[in-house]
């Protein structure tokens, strides 16, 4: 009996936000990200019989998604042909100015920062997996989508004081989980 089993009917509810946030920083385009995730689900279902249950469902899906992202870049690169890099520093007028251009802009947010923040986001989503499903959904609506308290109350048929109790539990659990796994 394998340690982990696949349950494709739950993939969207459990992992779609995770996969989406993973992809969006890497391809920077919602349409493309959605297509890549569709392909990932399809490929995952097709090769479900090869899943040995050694990795978690999430890890397995991510490994397929990674291949899809790489394939995507291969495809657009070959379509573009060879990229042309033009360096024009021999211009008489601007002699020496290129040095200035080489200085790093300290206000520029680096790719590493972006990546680290994205990883933090993924860690948050992973932590949310361990709390009550409905509470996690309410927390996400409130915190990530920034939905109105009233709208969420109507959506889930709860009172505002229910909502704040749920938010409190979710935040406490999330803070403890991040404390352990991130900070």
């Amino acid at each position: 009996m394998p340690a982990n089993e696949l349950d494709p009917n739950k993939w969207v509810d459990k992992y779609s936000d995770y996969l989406f946030n993973y992809t969006i920083v890497r391809v920077n385009d919602r349409e493309v990200a959605n297509d890549l995730i569709s392909e990932t689900f399809l490929a995952a279902q097709k090769s479900a019989k090869y899943f040995k249950g050694e990795a978690s469902e999430r890890t397995w899906l991510i490994s397929i998604l990674k291949r899809k992202i790489i394939d995507y870049y291969r495809k657009i690169n070959s379509r573009k042909g060879q990229a042309e890099v033009k360096v024009n520093y021999s211009d008489d007028y601007n002699e020496g100015e290129w040095l200035e251009e080489q200085v790093a802009d300290q206000f520029d947010r680096t790719a590493e920062d972006e990546m680290e923040n994205n990883e933090l986001g993924l860690a948050i989503l992973e932590c949310l997996d361990s709390i009550n499903e409905k509470h996690a959904a309410i927390f996400k609506r409130k915190t990530i989508d920034g939905a109105d308290t009233e709208a969420i109350c109507n959506e889930f048929n709860i009172t505002p004081s229910n909502l704040w109790v749920i938010i409190h539990r979710a935040r406490t659990a999330l803070a403890a989980c991040l404390e352990k796994n991130w900070f």
Partner: protein, 89 residues
């Protein structure tokens, strides 16, 4: 005095609620004031409050997005369809 104290002093669970509301900019002025008064003498809530703002910062920094429900529904249907076709084969 007792009416005054009811107006300004709150217990820890009420303080936590005010603290959570203020993370979403939904605490009123009176609530914020009550929270501040409570924090001056409650160490446990001070700790909670600072953790809570740290969490808010982290959430902001992470720039999480959720994908729209329609897209999720499309994926659900795609998976169901593929599943059905797989069983026919």
């Amino acid at each position: 005095m007792s009416r005054m104290s009811k107006l300004f002093f709150i217990d820890c669970s009420k303080a936590a609620e005010c603290c959570n509301k203020s993370q979403y900019e939904e605490a009123g002025t009176l609530e914020k004031m009550k929270l501040l008064i409570h924090l001056t003498f409650c160490k446990a809530c001070r700790r909670f409050s600072s953790k809570n703002s740290k969490l808010t910062q982290a959430l902001k920094k992470s720039k999480l997005q959720s994908c729209p429900e329609e897209q999720k529904q499309a994926w659900r249907e795609q998976i169901k369809k593929e599943f059905a076709e797989d069983n026919v084969r």
